[in-house]
Symmetry: C2
Subunit: 411 residues, 2 copies
């Protein structure tokens, strides 16, 4: 593979001489290692070297001039539902007209609506739709991504989703990890007195086959009043652990239920959403390796309160940002907008938001050694911005597309 | 000029058989005239004809196939400050860190910061920057735009800004109108006991020359506690009227001060902002020809309350949407995002928001006969979307760029 040299970079962002091996804690999020007037050298799809232009190599097979431009590591989007069957704007319009989430659910809306559509859609079409979405988020600068199942809710359809994710991995150079989210919503037929029946199906009817085919590395549960209880989550996580699946949990979107402490106890890689957080939640996270992953596009789209990012950062917790791309509550996988929103509406500083959406996103994917920063040996997934006066200009210009060229494995 | 045929349009939006001659009232905003499976024919930069594909002309000099795509009239952005000298993200970061607007002003920030930068920048550079911004908003689908002065605040610099706008008109095919906003902020040197001195400068030192050179068609005043009082506004509007300048007013951004009633009394084309509105304001607007123009990007960026769009629409007022593109409070001129925001955070329906951002925007520019809808004889400024499942998908997909091809005067 030919070598690539990016020269005359105005500022190389997140350039790590000694790469971090653990997530960036809150207090250090604003300390972004940068290098002005820099070069970046790529060989065989990996970052070979970087440094000041004074030490720039004389030649490479291909050279890109980045005068006036910033180079950032690609976004690591650690929480998405990118595989789904069709958008749900009709339901959104019903919400704008004043219907509640419950009323929409009664009319067959919500997650069960997506599940119905997904069951009816052939795997090939599901793949084609997901592939187009993946191309779109890549054009916004995403270089590594987590994708969940959870719109199947039957063994057959959950497996179909996970096989689509596997095919996306095979046909794309972007980093992709799969999470099994059978416990996304309770199917209609189990709602009347047979909750345990569905949990048993997840544990005995889905997990063995998913683990057997190696279709997922992580297990997720929507721990919420309208979904699964803390006790139900623990039961599912224990089963997942027996098959080697690590927890990444939907929790504290609407209520504080003690789910964060339980997730930490089970060694969760991340706890995601956190629109509501109490002192017990913060105490549970403190000192744990679990990453607090915030998804501001969802409360933006739902008109809900934003996660208390400053409180979490103030408690020195590692915070990551992700898109939550899904058709019901966050129909966008655009990470530059997530970073803008984190600054504008959660008061994160530009440096904090950028580091949360790249390096801490990589750690929330358990890929801190491969993605998320400019470090020698890491995968060469990065993007070049349009000319900008400052790094803060990137989130400040919330309506502009400032991602000019995207490189995945140096291509 | 060669003729252009757009064929196989999935849906032609805002196709008016009989063009409206007055702004769309609130109760009719959701009634969007559309035509499925349509063609659009352009000749000499104007819309020559449109209709169902069954009546499609057999040929034209150039044909564009729009299968699966929507065609919309270009956005008419009736409130912008697109001519400015440099962005102000540094100030924004100070705000994120907790400084108040007043503290930032004390440090030389805010409008006076822009005024200082603008006075120092040569006219040619100011033009180059504005031209790049204009190209960016055009790529988002804007086809007609209002641009204000107001970062000069001296006769010389206000004239410089208005001459830049004139040059933009001469070098671009987009529809551009200019508004004189000398009364944007009170310069430092007039703040201590000499407010009337600056108002006299506007009236005697700026207006005659601006009118003499025909540099503006409209006059604007920032009527607000931190800027100009209602009585000061009236004095300025009366002077403007003597020179034939019609009012378009910044009002009710932070306080209800009776400015709307005064603006209506002076025949204002539009009253803009309206983050706060009381019953007296609504009564003043009812039955008047003045358009209520909402700028949701500003409260989004400032974390302020959104304008009460539903209340205004419920009172059957004509509502328009605009970007307020400016470096301090809305650093984006992206109209698709404004339309998304209007739906997501002001509960406007997609049809209402689209009509408010096109046809009512055109009326707020006093260009209802030229722009804002697909009607025979109107200027052929329109855009073709990427393939979409429905029209509501456009605002629903808030992070996606769905504007695929933009035509200005049919090119």
């Amino acid at each position: 593979m030919p070598s690539l040299l990016v020269s005359n970079i105005k500022q190389l962002v997140l350039a790590e001489e000694t790469p971090r091996t653990t997530p960036v804690p809150g207090a250090e999020l604003a300390k972004l290692p940068t290098l002005n007037n820099a070069f970046l050298l790529v060989e065989n799809g990996r970052i070979k070297n970087f440094g000041p232009m004074a030490h720039c190599p004389e030649r490479a097979d291909k050279t890109v001039d980045a005068t006036g431009r910033y180079v950032l590591p690609s976004w690591c989007d650690s929480h998405t539902h990118l595989v789904f069957a069709n958008s749900r704007e009709d339901e959104w319009v019903h919400r704008l007209k004043g219907l509640s989430y419950e009323e929409i659910a009664t009319r067959g809306g919500g997650i069960l609506n997506s599940a119905k559509k997904l069951r009816e859609m052939p795997e090939a079409e599901l793949y084609e739709q997901a592939q187009r979405r993946l191309e779109e988020v890549r054009s916004c600068g995403t270089g590594a991504i987590e994708i969940k199942s959870g719109y199947g809710l039957t063994a057959e359809s959950e497996l179909k989703m996970l096989r689509v994710i596997r095919r996306l991995k095979e046909t794309n150079k972007m980093g992709i990890k799969a999470t099994f989210l059978g416990a996304h919503s309770l199917p209609e037929e189990y709602r009347k007195g047979n909750r345990q029946g569905y949990i048993n199906l997840i544990i005995n009817g889905m997990l063995p086959q998913i683990a057997g085919e190696g279709l997922a590395g992580y297990i997720d549960v929507f721990c919420e009043k309208i979904a699964f209880s803390v006790a139900e989550m623990e039961q599912i996580l224990e089963a997942g652990a027996r098959f080697g699946l690590k927890p990444k949990i939907h929790v504290n979107q609407f209520y504080c239920m003690g789910g964060i402490a339980a997730a930490v106890k089970h060694g969760a890689v991340s706890v995601d959403h956190l629109e509501v957080v109490d002192d017990g939640d913060i105490a549970a996270l403190s000192g744990s390796p679990t990453i607090a992953t915030l998804l501001p596009s969802a409360p933006f789209f739902l008109n809900d309160p934003m996660p208390p990012a400053r409180k979490l950062i103030g408690a020195n917790l590692p915070v990551a940002l992700a898109s939550d791309f899904n058709p019901g509550t966050s129909p966008s996988g655009c990470m530059p907008f997530v970073v803008s929103l984190a600054c504008i509406q959660m008061k994160m500083l530009p440096e904090e938001a950028i580091q949360a959406a790249t390096l801490n996103g990589a750690f929330a994917l358990e890929w801190g050694g491969e993605y998320g920063s400019i470090a020698r040996g890491k995968v060469a997934n990065f993007f070049i911005t349009r000319p900008m006066p400052s790094l803060a200009y990137l989130p400040y210009s919330f309506g502009s597309n400032l991602v000019e060229r995207v490189f995945v494995q140096g291509e």
